[in-house]
């Protein structure tokens, strides 16, 4: 409904988003080294996957403007994403791969 051009973020907001993305990436890399020292195991995996998903959602939502588009595009895109995740998780499970491994 509110998918109008003037609701798009401004350049200043794009820069702010980039800073957020950069910080999240820095935390990810830091987590890699913290995990090496402390051996957080699956907690580390949980944190890293959450951070990656956060970055993913930010890029899709703001840079790809999906937040501001008609819901139909969101449905198509989410369908592909959810389908891929669920199918391949089943494949990995039935092949005996533990998907998330701790350090």
């Amino acid at each position: 409904m509110s998918a109008e051009h003037h609701t798009h973020p401004t350049p200043a907001q794009y820069w702010k988003i980039a800073v957020v993305l950069a910080v999240l990436t820095a935390i990810e890399v830091a987590m890699f080294y913290i995990d090496r020292e402390l051996g957080l195991g699956s907690l580390n995996a949980l944190i890293l996957i959450t951070l990656a998903l956060l970055k993913f959602v930010i890029v899709v939502g703001w840079y790809m403007h999906l937040r501001f588009e008609k819901p139909m595009l969101n449905r198509f895109f989410t369908a592909g994403f959810v389908l891929a995740i669920s199918l391949y998780l089943v494949v990995l499970a039935s092949l005996g791969v533990v998907v998330i491994r701790g350090g």
Binding site: L21, A22, G80, Y88
Partner: protein, 208 residues
């Protein structure tokens, strides 16, 4: 009262578009949604083999250069910023800004690709891990290689737009839509890398 009324004829391109979304944009989003299945299969392949015990030769997870890859991931992430700034500049009618940001995006993409070439070379020369060393190495090269191919195609498309803009002095409305499409593709390639960076580089460990 007939069930099929008839209206004045309209030209093909003015035909009623039922969703109100531009055909090409809708097509691009639909295509990108199918790319999840493409990269998903490659990532699955990597996860299956990356720490399966008993392969001959070195495992990719044993030799990742995390600081280096972090920098190149950061470069690709920032190219999404320049891409969106190019799009924004065009929507404000700022043709010079568009051109500059387009070029910056292509340049950052090229830096990322150069980094990948360097990484592959190092793995092959320093560690003797080639495409055929073992399934873990194969899966790594095929996954990151297909991603790199996507980036390279993106760079070519960005440079084409940049070239058109330079030659004609501005981007027409039609190319404005092309820029938006290239942008969508570019961000998508970026989010795939966000996943690869975490799952392949940060989270995978060699067996044992």
């Amino acid at each position: 009262m007939s069930d099929i009324a008839h209206e004045a004829p309209v030209a093909h391109h003015e035909e009623h578009e039922s969703t109100g979304i531009d055909n090409r944009k809708l097509g691009m989003w639909i295509f990108l949604s199918s790319e999840f299945l493409f990269f998903g299969a490659l990532i699955t392949n990597y996860l299956l083999y990356s720490n399966r015990a008993g392969f001959e030769g070195i495992y990719p997870a044993a030799i990742y250069d995390i600081p280096f890859t972090s920098v190149s991931s950061f470069v690709l992430l920032m190219s999404s910023l320049t891409m969106v700034l190019a799009h924004n500049a065009l929507s404000r009618g700022d043709q010079d800004g568009t051109r500059t940001w387009l070029f910056a995006t292509a340049a950052l993409g090229s830096v990322f690709l150069a980094g990948q070439v360097f990484e592959f070379t190092e793995f092959i020369v320093e560690y003797d891990m080639t495409l055929a060393t073992n399934p873990a190495a194969s899966a790594f090269y095929v996954l990151t290689g297909f991603h790199g191919t996507h980036v390279a195609i993106g760079v070519i498309m960005l440079l084409s737009l940049w070239g058109i803009s330079r030659r004609q002095g501005s981007l027409s409305e039609r190319h404005g839509m092309n820029l938006e499409l290239v942008g969508l593709y570019w961000h998508f390639v970026d989010i795939i890398w966000i996943v690869i960076f975490t799952v392949v580089y940060l989270l995978s460990v060699p067996p044992g």
